[in-house]
């Protein structure tokens, strides 16, 4: 696929590139820490899908609500969650965002508007309706965004949510990261409907399918939906076709798919694509990618130091939060 026709100034391009490098380097470190058994639980990486998180979250404010799912690290970082507490959470430390009670699949950072992440596919989708309804009742121009994969779309909960969102014209933007695989199963084995944006066609909401590895296309289409939702418009669905470079989870033997050839990946990788574009358009100097990668590496080193210096939580935390007082 070719790059989107949207125009990009240098600052915006560098911002998107920086956001993607931060996620890439962070998640590669998480993968290494998982293999070293320093991150001990179930971890799902979004390596290859960074264009969606960067293109969407970079435009949101802290008071916009985001819900994510089991593959949430990129969304959390792009929404503003500090890398130290995110990594500390993954390592089960007291200094983690959720004091080690949530882990990789349940990142919450209320201060930055990441209100929830669920480990049950589709379980997060209707939650965003609640944020959108709250905004409708309160006034204001906040929006609610929910990220989910194409695997969630075959569940009744998805259609129920789309129905309510459109019926009540709620300011919610549904962002589907269609990476072609629902956990370990190709989309073709789950449904005859190739495009998620076609599933919602009868409901009459704004919908578009974009090349999710083209961060500029993601950004520009989302910007249109966002402006409409802020202005009191109804819901929208943004389907981003993307590719999960790693397995469903860290350690997945991936017997269900062929490895992508290296040259194919060079074409798809959202970071490399934006760098080629930046070079061609003249806003990206040759030495900048290495510098951005280095900055991201420094950030993740600091995050890892923070996490390692944080103790494991005391046993009292186990029962402290069962009920809100």
């Amino acid at each position: 696929m070719g790059d989107s026709a949207g125009t990009l100034d240098g600052d915006a391009g560098l911002g998107l590139l920086r956001a993607m490098w931060r996620i890439r380097v962070f998640e590669e470190r998480v993968g290494a820490l998982t293999r070293a058994n320093e991150v001990h639980g179930l971890v799902h990486l979004s390596v290859g899908q960074e264009g969606v998180a960067a293109g969407v979250c970079g435009q949101l404010r802290p008071d916009d609500a985001v819900y994510s799912g089991h593959r949430a690290h990129g969304h959390a970082l792009a929404k503003g969650a500090p890398p130290g507490p995110v990594l500390a959470e993954l390592m089960g430390r007291d200094g983690g965002l959720c004091r080690g009670l949530g882990g990789s699949m349940h990142l919450v950072d209320r201060e930055h508007g990441l209100l929830g992440a669920t480990g049950v596919v589709g379980g997060n989708v209707p939650l965003a309706l609640g944020s959108a309804l709250a905004r409708r009742l309160l006034g204001g121009d906040q929006v609610a965004v929910v990220f989910f994969g194409d695997g969630a779309v075959q569940g009744g909960i998805f259609v129920e949510t789309v129905n309510l969102a459109t019926l009540w014209r709620l300011p919610v933007i549904l962002v589907c990261e269609n990476n072609g695989f629902a956990e370990f199963t190709p989309r073709s084995a789950h449904t005859n409907v190739e495009r998620v944006s076609d599933v919602v066609a009868p409901y009459g909401l704004e919908r578009e399918t974009v090349d999710g590895n083209d961060v500029v296309a993601v950004r520009d289409t989302f910007a249109r939906f966002l402006a409409a939702a802020r202005a009191g418009g109804g819901p929208a669905l943004l389907e981003c076709l993307t590719h999960r470079l790693r397995g469903h989870y860290e350690g997945d033997p991936q017997q269900y798919r062929d490895a992508l050839a290296a040259e194919e990946w060079q074409e798809l990788d959202p970071i490399l694509r934006l760098q080629r574009r930046g070079a061609a358009e003249g806003w990206l100097d040759e030495d900048v990618p290495a510098r951005l990668e280095g900055e991201a590496r420094d950030e993740v080193e600091a995050a890892e130091r923070f996490a390692r210096e944080s103790p494991f939580p005391p046993a009292s935390v186990t029962s402290e939060f069962v009920y809100a007082e």
């Binding site: 609500a65 819900y67 965002l97 959720c98 004091r99 009670l101 949530g102 349940h106 919450v108 950072d109 209320r110 209100l115 929830g116 669920t118 049950v120 379980g123 989708v125 209707p126 939650l127 965003a128 309706l129 609640g130 944020s131 959108a132 309804l133 709250a134 905004r135 409708r136 009742l137 609610a144 009744g156 909960i157 129920e160 949510t161 129905n163 309510l164 019926l167 935390v317 402290e320 939060f321 069962v322 009920y323 809100a324 007082e325």
Partner: protein
């Protein structure tokens, strides 16, 4: 001052008074506010009172999200079984968010669910399923047996910062009782001693409370003094009051309309066996429904459910005494 009103009206009175007091209280549900003369719709408007499609998962999920955003939704579910359609939202999302976020978000939500409609409504609208929710961390479970508690527990449920499954019994709907005027909140986790006694403790839940009180009358006529305890909430459960009563009487009968295995009755029996074994002078007796789906036919429905005679018989067994003639 108190006033007499039906159980269902007491529930609605609590919702209305809380909606008047607190603008963050919302009311969602299927088949509510479907016409312009609906009293809630007229008083509170279509922003706060909303009819939803028959989409329990999205309906409850939306309510969870609204609660996270700072509102206090009450979801009208009609039949408790309809909650089962949305089990992920009820027992795996709503109840876990406060915990998994280490307290960053709260989910003040009331799921209003009618149960136990054993009046020929057959297998899927009659279940007494509160026991399924009793061991769900983060979820509270209220089971009012009287009009006063119907009001007071609903008020507390709405004010609570946690998700609450509020189970009201359909056969109590039009039963009249006295409820206090104005704001009235019954604290969670405080059982009510409905009748004091010294020979046997009868713990009865929800609809079974009246059956247990009638059985206690029969037992009294035979010279047996039964204490009747209504837990009022199953989560949190006031085990202290139950254990204190058993320490006095030495005998326990638990009455629960639900199936026996995995029931609230079984949990209460286990608590007493574990923490009050030294007090017991006889095995704990459970009076529950059979482990079967509720049948349609009236005689079979009666056969399967707890009743006064079964409670009396269980108390006699616990006491090792001769049968009481009614």
């Amino acid at each position: 001052m108190a006033h007499e009103l039906p159980y269902i009206a007491a529930i609605e009175e609590a919702i209305r008074e809380e909606m008047e007091r607190d603008e963050s209280v919302l009311y969602f549900g299927q088949n509510i506010a479907t016409h312009e003369n609906d009293p809630f719709l007229k008083q509170f408007g279509s922003d706060r009172v909303r009819v939803t499609p028959i989409s329990e998962t999205a309906e409850i999920g939306m309510a969870v999200g609204t609660a996270i955003a700072g509102y206090r939704p009450v979801v009208e579910l009609y039949m408790a079984e309809f909650m089962l359609v949305a089990m992920d939202q009820v027992v795996n999302e709503a109840n876990r968010f406060h915990y998994m976020s280490a307290g960053q978000v709260k989910v003040p939500l009331v799921l209003k669910a009618g149960y136990g409609f054993t009046a020929g409504w057959a297998g899927q609208h009659t279940g007494t399923i509160y026991g399924m929710f009793m061991g769900v961390p983060g979820l509270k479970v209220a089971v009012p047996a009287t009009a006063a508690d119907a009001k007071g527990l609903m008020t507390t449920a709405i004010r609570d910062d946690n998700p609450v499954a509020y189970f009201h019994h359909y056969l109590l709907t039009l039963e009249h009782g006295d409820a206090p005027d104005g704001e009235y909140a019954v604290p969670f986790g405080e059982a009510a001693v409905r009748r004091e006694g010294t020979d046997v403790t009868i713990v009865a839940i929800g609809w079974c409370v009246d059956r247990a009180l009638a059985a206690a009358e029969q037992l009294a006529a035979a010279g047996v003094s039964a204490e009747v305890i209504d837990p009022r909430t199953l989560a949190p459960l006031d085990t202290a009051t139950i254990l204190g009563s058993v320490a006095k009487t030495g005998r326990l009968v638990v009455v629960d309309q639900s199936t026996r295995h995995g029931s609230a009755a079984a949990v209460i029996a286990a608590e007493v066996a574990s923490e009050g074994f030294d007090s017991l002078q006889a095995p704990v007796k459970l009076v529950t429904a059979l482990d079967a789906t509720i049948p349609y036919s009236k005689p079979m429905e009666d056969y399967l459910l707890p009743d006064e005679a079964k409670i009396v018989a269980a108390a006699q067994q616990a006491l090792g005494s001769a049968p009481v003639t009614a």
